[in-house]
Symmetry: C2
Subunit: 143 residues, 2 copies
């Protein structure tokens, strides 16, 4: 078994998968640094992403390997892939093809801000929440 | 129970906690957009972060609420907090006090790149891997 030193300071990719065989993937826009989405990858998604330079994920809801953009055409070309200290998270800097990364039609999944400096119930605020594509049209073949 | 429309399009914060009561938190540098770390938050960590504007997390290994910087002094001042479409992930844009966010002594936890366009065993490459503080000195009180 790999030591914590091997995992943190070594040059071997040793993903620390969770009980479901997944690691967390953070996807940022290579252009402006915005976080576009958070997804999950299994061993096969990691291997296919490394091999092809395009982003593959594992869908927890659909329980299957999934190429980003396979339905929408909104493929993500990976400009840089990084792994974190304990190797349970990956960071993909991507060029997002098409209009948006979010299935709701937005550029980013993070289109609501949480106001700070308060206690109790919180009212979110839309930020960059304009839809850049029509999800009903793009995903109409999902049915 | 909240509908998927309420969760995705509503203005009520309804975090979708996993079986351990946690959501994923992505922390980026408000200055340059780099991903500094990935952490986890429980309901209390979210509430304290919103209230104080400083980042609190839940440590899965130590099984406790944890204020970033409580040992190292490397506090994170939250400039903006966002929630994603299905509310199982938060994005914190922070001003990182002190030298670095990573317990290994680096600015970011993502100090190794995974080369793309290959199959089989992968050799990582250090990127921005210089240590900006001495973890042994900073965490010496950890015991």
């Amino acid at each position: 078994m790999a030591s914590s030193h091997d995992i943190e300071e070594g040059l071997t990719l040793l993903p620390k998968f969770d009980a479901d065989g997944l690691v967390t993937a953070v996807i940022t826009d290579a252009g402006n640094g915005d976080v576009l989405m958070v997804a999950h990858m299994n061993a096969e998604a990691i291997a296919k992403t490394i091999e092809t330079g395009e982003a593959w994920y594992y869908s927890r809801s659909r329980k299957k390997l999934w190429k980003k953009g396979e339905t929408s055409g909104h493929v993500q070309r990976v400009q840089e892939l990084r792994v974190d200290c304990d190797q349970d998270a990956l960071w993909l800097k991507v060029v997002q093809e098409g209009e948006g990364a979010c299935h709701t039609g937005r550029r980013s999944c993070f289109y609501r801000a949480v106001p700070l400096g308060q206690t109790g119930a919180v009212k979110l605020e839309f930020q960059n929440a304009g839809k850049v594509f029509d999800p009903d049209a793009v995903y109409s073949s999902k049915g």
